[in-house]
Amino acid sequence: MRLLIAEDTPSDRLILANLIKRLGHEVILAVDGKEAVEQFIEHSPDIVLLDVMMPFKHGTQVAKEIRQIAGEDLVPIIFLTSLNEASDLAECLEAGGDDFLSKPYNTVIIKAKIMAFSRMRRLHKEIQGQREHLVQEQIAAKGIFDKIAHYGVLNSPNIRYLISPKAIFNGDVVLAARHPNGDLLVLLGDFTGHGLPAAIGALPLAEVFHGMVSKGFALEDVLREVNAKLKSILPVGVFCCATAAHLGFRNRSIEVWAGGLPEGVIYNTRNKSVKKIHSQHLPLGILSAAQFKYQPVYFEMDNDDVIYLWSDGIIETVNAQQEMFGFERLLNVFTQSCNANTVFDEILQHVDDFAVEGTEQADDHTLIAVKMQDAPSMALKQALLVKPKVVHRGLADCTMTCELGVESLKSFDPVPLVTHLIFQIMGLKPYVNTLNTILAELYSNALEHGLLHLDSALKNSAQGFAKYYALRHERLTELTEGFIRFDIKHEPTDNGGRLTLQVTDSGQGFQVAQTNLVNENQNSLINYHGRGIRLIETLCQRLEFIPPGNSVIVEFNWSWL
């Protein structure tokens, strides 16, 4: 052990130095307070013995400075004193001393105290070492965690996000994945608590989310599965506040489910107006599968509109007066911004300015912004980037029929299932995104127009949009008879294959016989079938309506890539 003795009386210094050397320790000497600090910096001793009354710098001041220099290291400070009154001794301890030694010095006591403090120091070092070890382990685990939780399409050009760096692990999670049809599903979650226990729930969440979205499941199915999974694995009292959104790039709409997070917004970058997204549900992982509610809200989104979501860190940032940053201040950033493209950075800047400098909370932000864009072309291009693997096994020549009755139609989305079937056909894998788009469009036409008689003209206004979905839900609930049938046929050709999809509903059709020529009556067709029908025409080789219009045949010729 190395001990620093700071004592201005020469004979006392001599005695103490000799006593301690005899105990086998190294001794550094200082004759006044100023020198004590200098010697401490130079030799970094393990224990400091400090006279209270010294010239140039009082012992209590020296103690303060040494504490500051030592930082997280534990350096026991023992005051040397011939002060006898209890109040004086108490003052030493308050000034940052750990103990005191009174004159005349007693060898036995000195030995005992040095032993005690060296033991304490050793324990402290062990704890520091273990903590360091834990941090290293967490950093390694974080690397794996990030690969699982934060992969996907978060780096798409229309997404910006920031995950709180407050702790190595915190309970915040940001996910984004692309639907086979090119749509984007995003989720921002905040698990209760902090650290590893909070973060670990993010792993199954991410796995279910990425897995199901890429197979084409709807947001509702994904969230139901996630909720059930979290409910079954998380301990009571741990759950995940989340907002999830499905950005439909073709019909420029967004479907949002919000459970427990602060209100997010949809920001119109042209007129700087915001629409708030209120939380209407309990967080994920609380309710049983049967009790789980899915009542999303729908918004129309123009190109360049941006959805912003955040966890509570930003809103709960406090300033020196203990006021919270709050939602109002946050909204003002949007409405008062001079440049809609820099709002993301402005939010961070405003919160940073607001927070007390140097406090940890200044970094506790999780934020994501996703912009609506003309995505179809982008999504289809992405599809072609999928490198086909050499296929040895799979479907080739086959036909399949799948008919859904009323009860199935009310509770089941057949598109992922049929997409999955097509996925099994050799060589068709690179085209699965396009085919999923076609299937989804044909199915929603059959259901919404054929069976539920909804008018897609309603979707032309913002209010109509919400009304459209409300009506869809209402009529589907009341549906008592009807069916939708998929007839799928695949024939291999020399350089690829021909896939024929026929979707038939039990509705009355729209009397193609009367309007006959599609070209002349484009508008009525589009009002009946929605904007998506034009897209399908561009994606396949043949599109034919069977009179009276309740059945559609699509032919898709493909070649090996």
């Binding site: 201005d8 009386t9 004979s11 006392d12 000799n18 006898n84 004159k103 060898t107």
Partner: protein, 111 residues
């Protein structure tokens, strides 16, 4: 009657310090003379803070060498300065000078 020096304590010091014991004695005596001068000057010039500090220092050093009476006198002097009772300072100063002479003679003689 309390002896000027606690011989047992001094013997223990001698054992611990071995060859350096002589150095300790001369160091103590030199420092003590210096502090005594400070005490005397302080009393003369009524600088009681200076008196208190010097008395405090001499008290500790003396206690460590077993000069029990000298340490007690210094403590009294320190205490009076602290609480502002200056009536006996001159008298105490005298006593401290005398006691120091006794201590010095004992320390200087071969142990």
């Amino acid at each position: 009657m309390t002896p000027h020096i606690d011989t047992e304590q001094l013997a223990e010091l001698k054992e611990v310090l071995e060859d350096e014991f002589g150095v300790l004695i001369s160091t103590y005596l030199t420092d003590a003379k210096f502090r005594l001068q400070l005490i005397q000057n302080g009393i003369n010039s009524q600088d009681y803070e200076a008196v208190r500090l010097a008395a405090h220092s001499l008290k500790g050093a003396s206690a460590n060498l077993g000069a029990v009476i000298l340490a007690q006198l210094c403590e009294k002097l320190e205490h009076d300065c602290k609480v502002g009772e200056y009536g006996q300072l001159a008298c105490l100063g005298e006593k401290i000078q005398q006691e120091f002479i006794s201590v010095r003679d004992l320390l200087a003689s071969p142990q």
